[in-house]
Amino acid sequence: MRPVDRFRGLAQHRLFSLVPLAVVILLMPLMFTSAYYYRVAALVFIFAIAALGLNLLMGFAGQVSLGHAGFMGIGAYSVAIGPTHLGISPLPSFVLGAMVSMLVAIVVGRPILRLKGHYLAVATLGFGVLLAIAFTNEANWTGGPDGMTVRHLTLLGRPLRGAEPWYWISATTFLVGAAFALNLIESPTGRALRGIHDSEIATRMLGVDVAGKKLMIFVVAAVYASVAGSYLALLNSYITPDVSGFLRSIELVAMVVLGGMGSISGSLVGAAVLVILPQALALFHDYEHMMLGLIVMGVMIFLRRGIVPSVAAAFAQRRE
């Protein structure tokens, strides 16, 4: 095999699209002039992880969740409550949080995933609001609306302080999460999910347990969000019920739609836009949110399939 052919073979590999991303992740810190950059970049990847999970649910299986930040809350409060109240160190607390999220997703998902469209949206919204209220009211455990501090995670005997380690951890986790997602798309489960998106009735008629598959991907999406929530809490060393609030859930949905439903890099782009833009727009002071809203509206009007799919389609057209 000639080296050129070998490269071509590699380039066609399912996971090849992650290579440029990995290079960017490695090189980007060269441009970072302060810890602030690491922090913003870490936030981008953290939200990208949650958005990616939600994208599996929305973009592939075609099911909406307006309460997904609820699972971020479970992940976040696990790493906060575990060490503070239960004497469990942060790393097992993090794993425990993901497991609790799985369990909650199964219990909640089973009844509400039977609903469709707007009904599903409202039910998931209710779930998110419920969790946010629980985190606010259980002040003995969560510190109530004022929130609580989160202990540092200790890895290899070293406490992880500051944003830099969390940049590397969240970026690596995103790469792994994206690899899982790419694997899933080209698997029996992935094909069944995409079928459900296009025609639920035809998918059932081909022997797919639609309810089971929806629940499965809901659980996977919940774990992604839980991991992101834990990272967010550990990065900030502080957590408030806002992490699981309605606005957070809407933000996650906006990231998925803005970046492009069904596009894995779209989740990263959507997260980057909605994390970085408010920081960049801070110079508009009082008009910051208005500008953000206008930009998001503009993108959706002119790039209606989301940023990544629309731009990719435009490039493909030009090439022809």
Binding site: R194, D198, S199, A202, T203, M205, G207, V208
Partner: protein
């Protein structure tokens, strides 16, 4: 042996008895057609047989087992597959991926294996793709395998839906108006496809308005009118049944049938 039996199937929507005590027996390996004017209850009967709606009365038996009220996915795993009058393809997936979903009941990997893309998934994907390619070439659209399904012409979408149903290797295949919207050439090709499917030992139940196709391929024809059984028999018998001609076919279609007969 009868692979499919319906006994006294009835369903009412509001006050309307859409299907009223219809019984039919479909022997293995034949083309069994259900015909009748619009609103006769053909598609409703199909929906009850394929589990999309539960009959208020009566039984459905598949290969001797009572399957009344089973969900479509359970019926699919027992070897019942169908196509839809209003196409139900997956437009955002490629043609081959559409058919690969049809292989779902023969695939056996779990979500963890799928997420990690274990070697077993890669092997399974290869097998699934091979079987899907075979199903596509069976209906003659293997050249379009990598195109987005949404970009196919209507006639090819019809074939794609048949290929997808075939890929699940059904015992009984229900075809709901496969010739609707097809031109004469496409209908003739469809006739060949139906014949070759029968050659594989699959039993076909066909709902169709195109009388030429029905008369050409059917071994038995069941005539419905206003939700009730009007007649059943071979093509030759149904064609000359006065009740069928008068109540269902009407003057214009009588000429058409005469044309086929002559």
């Amino acid at each position: 042996m009868n692979v499919l039996c319906a006994e006294h199937l009835s369903i009412a929507f509001g006050g309307l008895r859409a299907v009223d005590a219809v019984s039919l027996e479909v022997p293995s390996g034949i083309v069994f057609s259900i015909i009748g004017p619009n609103g006769a209850g053909k598609t409703t009967l199909f929906n009850m047989i394929s589990g999309l709606c539960t009959p208020h009365d009566g039984y459905v038996r598949l290969c001797g087992d009572d399957v009344t009220g089973l969900a479509p996915e359970q019926l699919a795993r027992r070897g019942l597959s169908r196509t839809f009058q209003n196409l139900q393809i997956f437009p955002q997936m490629t043609v081959i991926e559409n058919v690969m979903v049809g292989r779902h009941r023969h695939e056996s990997t779990g979500i963890l294996a799928d997420l990690l893309h274990l070697p077993v998934v890669a092997r399974q994907n290869r097998r699934t793709r091979e079987a899907a390619t075979e199903a596509l070439s069976y209906v003659g659209i293997e050249a379009m395998a990598e195109r987005p399904a949404g970009s196919l012409a209507y006639g090819n979408l019809k074939r794609l839906e048949i290929a997808r149903a075939l890929a699940s290797e059904p015992t009984v295949l229900l075809l709901d108006e496969p010739a609707a919207g097809c031109n004469p050439v496409e209908t003739a090709e469809l006739e060949n496809i139906i014949r070759s499917i029968i050659g594989k030992g699959v039993t076909i139940v066909l709902v169709e308005h195109d009388m030429r196709l029905v008369m050409n391929v059917s071994d038995r024809i069941h005539v419905l009118a206003n939700g009730r059984t009007l007649a059943e028999g071979t093509a030759a018998e149904v064609r000359i049944n006065p009740a069928v001609i008068e109540a269902y076919l009407g003057a214009r279609a009588t000429r058409e049938v005469a044309g086929v007969a002559g």
